[in-house]
Symmetry: C2
Subunit: 212 residues, 2 copies
């Protein structure tokens, strides 16, 4: 008996692999669905049965790109470990994966970044989800007394600001040599021990001193 | 009596202004010295009397781009003010200038970034000089007891890492809304109060505890 769901999944994987190879050779912007159909030996109309548009294909490719990263983030949020270590690993584990993807094939990595720029509406959901997981960990840190006088939204945005070289893949490409675990550990410690509301603001709002 | 030095300087300024307009219209990569000669109504051979190559022109344009920034940095290094404020202003004053240049003309700003990428050997001297000025201020902070257990080189590099959205103009273009003075103040305070050697390293090197 045929197992159509498995067959469909296998064909979709084969198409994605061919798309990977195509963007690796030509860059993300110049490949078309017609080129891709030729590369996998299908008619364009058959290809469109598997992916109804280049957007839908980009969505599937983004899904593969983020799958491993999402599992790491989900696992860490509920992990039983000190919040300081959790925050460190939240970045460290993903840095290791992104660095190894970059080193495996810098051109493919760059092509994926282009593909993401072209289809940012697809990427945005994943970026928001990563922020949501990070916010859970930062909220746990706030319960332990970190980030005095700041709102969670401000903490999320300030941590993202200071962590750019460890989480923005476009910037990581430029400065991968800086995104080491040793430096990451120091930056995380700096944020944990130094990030709090500006003291001059605290003078205006004296309750922040009491909270501190 | 003719004043040849002044005449030469005026003509060079006129050529640079025409080059600004050309990269604004066409992008940095596609303009040629021949196009530029036409735009300023000169023969190419006459243009080459003022700038012997596109590299030499890029160098003069970079000089104009950085002139105001260098004066700010030089003045701050020797200014009589608390080092905490000096470090804040080192970034704040330049953020204000870069943001206003960007807002005046985002496309010209982006073209200047392209020009810088094309002629990075020209830019690198200015980047190194900015690091040198920053190192002077950070060394002054170390004398006041900040950044325990870290070498100056590490401090310079870690501060650069955490300050990317406030000093990397390519990244500023993506996230100009984040590079506010209020957020900058908090990030500088975070770095001053939190940046020090990793405690686990300090256990290996106990003299760091004594220094602390």
């Amino acid at each position: 008996m045929p197992r159509p769901e498995t067959d469909i999944a296998a064909t979709r994987s084969r198409i994605i692999a061919a798309a990977d190879q195509m963007i690796q050779e030509r860059g993300a912007i110049s490949f078309t669905m017609t080129d891709l159909a030729t590369a996998v030996g299908m008619s364009p109309s058959n290809l469109y049965r598997f992916f109804e548009s280049k957007d839908a294909l980009a969505e599937a490719m983004a899904g593969e790109w983020f799958a491993e990263l999402l599992i790491i983030m989900e696992d860490l949020v509920s992990a039983d470990m000190p919040v300081e270590e959790k925050l460190y690993q939240f970045f460290a584990k993903r840095v290791v994966i992104k660095r190894s993807r970059y080193e495996d094939d810098p051109e493919l990595f760059e092509s994926y970044m282009e593909l993401g720029d072209e289809h940012f509406e697809v990427i945005k959901g994943y970026v928001d989800l990563a922020d949501h997981y990070m916010a859970s960990i930062l909220a746990e840190a706030m319960e332990k007394g970190y980030f005095k006088g700041l709102e969670l939204d401000s903490v999320v945005s300030l941590v993202n600001t200071m962590m750019q070289p460890f989480c923005n893949p476009q910037l990581m490409m430029q400065m991968m040599h800086l995104a080491t675990e040793e430096r990451l550990r120091i930056v995380i410690n700096t944020i944990l021990s130094g990030l709090k509301a500006d003291e001059e603001q605290a003078i205006i709002k004296p309750e922040l001193h009491i909270a501190g």
